[in-house]
Amino acid sequence: MATSETSNIKRLQVRRFKPEENPKSTYLTEETGIWAWMTTVDHKKIGLMYLASILFFFFVGGTLALLLRTELLTPAQSFITADTYNQIFTLHGAIMVFFFLVPSVPAALGNFVLPLQLGCKDVAFPRVNLLSYYIYVIGAVFTLIAIFTGGVDTGWTFYTPYSATTGGNVMMMTLGVFILGFSSILTGVNFIVTIHRLRSPGQTWNKISLFLWSLYATSIIQILATPVLAITLLLLTMERALHIGIFDPALGGDPVLYQHFFWFYSHPAVYIMIVPGFGIVSEIISTFSRKHIFGYWAIALSSLAIAFIGFLVWGHHMFTAGQSSLANMVFSFLTFLVGIPTGIKIFNWVATMYKGSIDMKTPMLYIMAFLFLFMIGGFTGIMLGSLAVDIHLHDTYYVVAHFHYVMMGGMVMAFLGGLHYWWPKMFGKMYNEFWARIACVVIFIGFNLTFLPQFVMGSMGMPRRYFNYLEQFQGYHQASTYGSYILGIGFLIIAAYLLHSLLRGKKAPPNPWGSRAMEWQTSSPPSLHNYEHTPVVINGPYDYHKPMSEFQLGIEGSHNGHGEHQHTETKTVEADK
């Protein structure tokens, strides 16, 4: 374990460990029962609880989206009123952003995978980790109360002064999101400390996986940006409770200042959502190309660069909001800079495939879809970053399509890729490959049918958040709605075969993909303490030119380096601590 700051070189006695094919005891068979689950401090179980919660919210948010799309089949009112429509799109946005996208990869997949990839038994603060889950639940309860006691119709951005004056239970909602922020912060704190302090012997900064680098960058954004969201929402809550007037022009405040506050969090939040996705892409592309990742440091550092520059560009959400021309120019300029590290990543990923041994399994299929869709999202982002064009496109369906390409085409595809990739590790079961591929294709088609037309109607001038619209846009809206139905079917297929896999899936081997990454060097599912030995890292996670056995070194002893070691000396390695 990397405990001391001094970089002394120690000789470690290690031996080879082959992961068990049929582990008798796994984290799923130990400490069972509802109470044990609810009070567990095991990062894997907490990860699964997060996974179940975010999938529930994804389902809710998705259903709301289908309701919206159905209403938009006709230009005039069809089955819900304007106020209901406004509440639904607010909830769709808020739920998808705060309850699904932000925690999806870090809190669910990250929680599960991060300690496994570090070779430690748990995150640094296991109880804080559980606390963060319950804070998430409390935030969700507040939000549900808000929905059932008047609803919220402000849009997920809660712009003042509308949010300060409109009816409904905005306060409960903002408090819910405020509370949720702490969950996000605690996860971030936990991850940073874990990555710094709990790496395995020999696991230097250039031997941690790119998924960890991306989680590290994400955590940094989380701890720097989320508190500003917290204070923003607190001020907004006070605005409603005590009418403090800082953001309310009727009392002398400034609504544009609110937008600065809000986007200082919410733009970096976009990177909280997408950067972990980048990490998943790196893992999957390398595994399924069975090839060393191209440009390890370029990808790792570009994550950090994105995290940093992401803090400088929030004002591009406000080009038409009435901020000064100087600010507009600076924000536009910085916005383009953030495109560069993103581009670098894409080129590096494609280059990784060069001369690889590419296996188009489901996770890889999702990553190919990710690359294509995310590029469209990125290029349209360049379009929106350009001042003159943004003046025209701002607040239209073009923007809606753009961020759905980034968030759903990018993030959700990466999430699905990651889910399929780590599914065997999580549950020790395989899923039906045939149906998984079908679902991926259905989702890809449905997604494009849903959102490509929105680019067109957006640039034609269709503003967003419109309940009624002019008849000239009906064709596009209809295509979009039908696309969303296909999308819905795709997700139902996934739900079906994953459930089937849980109940009757084939047993998964420890390393079904032949990956060199560390989490695959333990049994599937892992034991309660992850590894039966303390893993020792000599090779990087992408060293596909080395034999698998090189990756199965460890120190014996169940207490992770604690207590007496009984060595079977097979190999002596130098590992710098």
């Binding site: 304007a82 106020d83 119709d153 712009y159 002064p161 509308y162 409109t166 009816g167 022009p249 190309s289 069975r290 060393h292 191209f294 440009g295 370029a298 038409t320 909001a321 021309s325 120019m329 536009s332 300029f333 560069i340 670098i344 894409i346 280059a351 495939m353 060069y354 001369k355 690889g356 041994s357 590419i358 296996d359 188009m360 190919m368 690359l371 294509f372 590029m375 290029f379 360049i382 379009m383 350009s386 001042l387 003159a388 064009v389 943004d390 003046i391 701002h394 607040d395 239209t396 680019f455 067109v456 640039s459 034609m460 001038g461 503003p463 967003r464 419109y466 309940f467 009624n468 030119h545």
Partner: protein, 313 residues
Amino acid sequence: MNRLSDFMLPPANSTFAAETDALFNFINVVSLILLIGITVTMIYFAIKYRRKSEDDTTPLITHNSKLEITWSVIPLILVMIVFGWGYNGYLTKTNAPDNAYEIRAIAKSWLWEFHYQTGHVSVNELHVPANRPVKMIISSDDVLHSFYIPEFRVKMDAVPNRYTSVWFEAIEPGEAILYCAEYCGSAHSNMLADVVIHSQEDFETWLETGDAIDDDLSPVELGEQLVQRQGCLACHSTDGSTLQGPTFQGIFGRDRLLTDGSTVTVDENYIRQSIIEPNTQVAEGFAPIMPTYAGSLNDRQIDAIIEYLKTLD
């Protein structure tokens, strides 16, 4: 490629629209080239290097500095071009010529009110001259709204307690649509206005005569027109359905419960009061959200509206 922009963009009818469209096209074309290039490469790799056996070995290629610098610098150059071009276009859009004709736009939930230098006021109908720069000074009475005319490629938020502005110079007489592009509540999507682009002479005539053409109409006809033109129908239906405000159907002569618990009969005085000071006597079940029409409707017009409401049984 012009086909693409014709397909994607609304007709252009302002002097600077062409520059915006050119940039739009440029980004589209460059993006498409890159998108297709990378996608084809990706698919080509996926086929060419597909796994042939489980024992495939792959070469160790960790990085290539030249390549990485290339694909950092070329995109950087491209985005800097886009930045400069976009900023240039933005400057054109923000700096109005000094001789621009000034019109004030006041956004209220949920209608647009336009004040002209002659003292003329029009609601939900913006009249502008062609071939002359027009500068809009925008403000809002309640929440954020946004002044958006796609055909002119302009947009600016209306911020309460502040003035913002846009300018444009229409090229041809015709019609366009003004949208509210910043979410503002229940009837956000009904907050549209017609933009009528006159030739110079027509515009002058319109300013002089303005509503005078209404003189020929009977009070009921005038009232019907006004109810449409002034944006009343965004919130008040004439068919009995409930929108943000009470329906007009059968409204006259009815007893109505107010939010303060008292009851009034809807008569001439109550209607007049509700138009001038809408939020003093609010009907039970509705929010005090109606904007005032004081100053934008004269007595004759209010009388006409009352006459029209009497006919809606």
